[in-house]
């Protein structure tokens, strides 16, 4: 066993373990943290496959941003685990059945020999000065420009939808207008001097 293969199996084992924990832990925060671990190890496996850009972006986007917000929400919500688990036992047989079917299917697909090494030769190791990021960028902005732009539009829709669905102006909440605050003049805006007749 080469060193790389050893590293692969170590990461793969951690990944499978973390993924199992994600779905079996009772506490949603633990699940989310195991998901973070799963992302991290899959990034490591991608690194082994010489896809360093994807690996780092996975850490950057999923671990660094998405999961942080996810944890944020999970921690804030007071999730009642008992009610969430209520249907668990009832649905378990069906779930196991489906899971077994899926596993058999995956084995049939992968084990069918369609993806074996005689069908596809193992890729040659890339030279040291090969730049994964640059080649991805090259292909993304030329050959795949149209899908890339459509994907950008999808993100725009996501922004519009999120803002459209959540933003509501409540009349009772008070806002400040910083630009107004900055433009305040020393004299007339801050104090008003009232002239009053003296009372007896």
């Amino acid at each position: 066993m080469t060193f790389e293969l050893f590293v692969f199996y170590v990461f793969a084992a951690i990944l499978v373990f973390a993924a199992t924990m994600v779905i079996t832990r009772k506490n949603p925060v633990h699940s989310a943290l195991f998901l973070v671990l799963a992302f991290f190890t899959s990034a490591a496996i991608w690194l082994l496959a010489e896809a360093e850009f994807l690996a780092i972006v996975l850490v950057l986007v999923y671990v660094g941003a998405v999961m942080v917000l996810f944890l944020f929400v999970v921690m804030m919500l007071d999730i009642d685990i008992a009610t969430m688990r209520a249907g668990f036992v009832k649905n378990l047989p069906l779930a196991i059945l489906i899971a077994i079917a899926m596993v058999i299917e995956i084995f049939l697909v992968i084990g069918s020999g369609s993806f074996s090494l005689d069908q596809f030769a193992a890729p040659l190791p890339l030279p040291a000065d090969y730049n994964n990021t640059a080649s991805l960028g090259n292909i993304l902005y030329t050959e795949y420009m149209y899908p890339f732009e459509v994907a950008a539009v999808i993100l725009l829709v996501a922004i519009i939808a999120a803002i459209g669905l959540t933003m509501r102006k409540r009349p009772e909440s008070k806002y400040q207008d910083p630009s107004k605050q900055v433009r305040v003049k020393k004299g007339e805006d801050r104090i008003t001097v009232l002239k009053m007749d003296a009372e007896d």
């Binding site: 943290l33 360093e52 660094g64």
Partner: protein
């Protein structure tokens, strides 16, 4: 000396892991020392700014104060609050310190003087700095304390917000340098104009935004709402004591040094001499090694961290959010466009 060199080469051929470990020690040990004396510098500098003297009892002029602090923290009891999640509670400080140290792996201290010279160095840095937030979130949640939890929530939202501005500022650097490799980025700033060739001039708005976002990312004043001792006691690490607290402390200062060093690397020419190519001063300072320039620049930027803390009152939370989302992000996006145009049209002086 020859014996040492041949031993080193032998290690490189046969036991690469050991060689790498030695390199890591060579980087981390001085770094820890820097962290220790950075805390001392902070107390002294802020002391003088506030017309006090600062620590001056342990050792001559108080020089041994950081050592004394370290010893004290090491011998203090580690208190784990009841109802806390023990594993996560203890892992959290490590998660703060870990990324702060790991980031140095791709940091070039001089031309070619780097532990791991990878192509996607800049991306690696962004990824690692974004992971650092987990320490804060986990500590806040695992402490089973309202104050800690509030601090964690504040910190999570703040760091995620400022990460975007920070990332965009780095995109500007990437566009200007045309590479993600940190060494290449420094080399792109080399030129006849010395310090006027560095990226701080053409990328000035990004330079400021990167630094300010860095302050926010490290939860330092005036963006220290995650700690906010006058509001939520000490925020996420209110329940920590002894060594776990010390690790948090180390992590915070290591992060500050990292941000300062990165600022000097990306915008202030890294190991380059500021007088490079100048008629008289250039040759005069030729003998100074690059790492010294890097150290001076890092110290200079680090000083700003302390200066900010001594000078500014704490931002209010909604103002922090407004600054991040409505001011910084639009400015960075506009400036990326400007830089892009400048690069495309090969604007003289920097990009020709």
């Amino acid at each position: 000396m020859d014996l040492l060199m041949s031993l080193w080469e032998w290690l490189g051929e046969n036991l690469v892991v050991v060689q790498i470990l030695i390199k890591i020690v060579i980087i981390v040990a001085p770094l820890m020392l820097c962290v220790a004396y950075f805390t001392y510098a902070e107390r002294k500098i802020i002391g003088y700014m506030q017309v006090r003297i600062g620590p001056n009892r342990v050792g001559p002029k108080g020089w041994l104060q950081p050592i004394a602090d370290a010893v004290k923290l090491m011998f203090k009891e580690i208190i784990i609050p009841s109802g806390a999640n023990k594993t996560l509670f203890l892992i959290a400080p490590v998660l703060t310190l870990g990324p702060a140290l790991a980031a140095w792996a791709v940091f070039p201290f001089g031309d070619g003087l780097v532990l791991s010279n990878i192509n996607a160095g800049l991306l690696y840095l962004i990824a690692l700095t974004s992971v650092g937030v987990y320490g804060v979130i986990i500590s806040g949640w695992a402490s089973n304390s309202k104050y800690a939890f509030l601090g964690a929530m504040r910190s999570a939202a703040q760091i995620v917000s400022y990460e975007i501005a920070m990332g965009f500022a780095l995109v500007g650097v990437l566009v200007a340098a045309g590479s993600l490799n940190l060494g290449e980025i420094v080399r792109a700033q080399e030129g006849e104009g010395g310090l006027f060739n560095w990226f701080w001039l053409p990328l000035f708005p990004l330079f400021l935004i990167y630094f300010v976002s860095g302050v926010a990312e490290t939860n330092r004043a005036p963006f220290d709402v995650a700690e906010g001792e006058s509001e939520i006691v000490a925020g996420f690490h209110v329940e920590y004591s002894g060594m776990p607290f010390a690790v948090f402390f180390l992590g915070e200062y290591a992060n500050m040094i990292l941000i300062s060093a990165l600022t000097s690397l990306l915008f202030l020419g890294g190991w380059l001499s500021p007088f490079n190519g100048w008629p008289l001063l250039g040759p005069m300072f030729d003998w100074v090694p690059g790492i010294v320039w890097l150290f001076i620049k890092t110290a200079f930027v680090g000083f700003f961290f302390l200066w900010l803390r001594a000078t500014f009152p704490r931002y209010r939370y909604d103002q922090i959010m407004r600054l991040g989302w409505k001011v910084f992000i639009p400015i960075t996006i506009v400036w990326i466009m400007v830089v892009g145009l400048a690069v495309v049209f090969e604007m003289p002086w920097w990009f020709d």
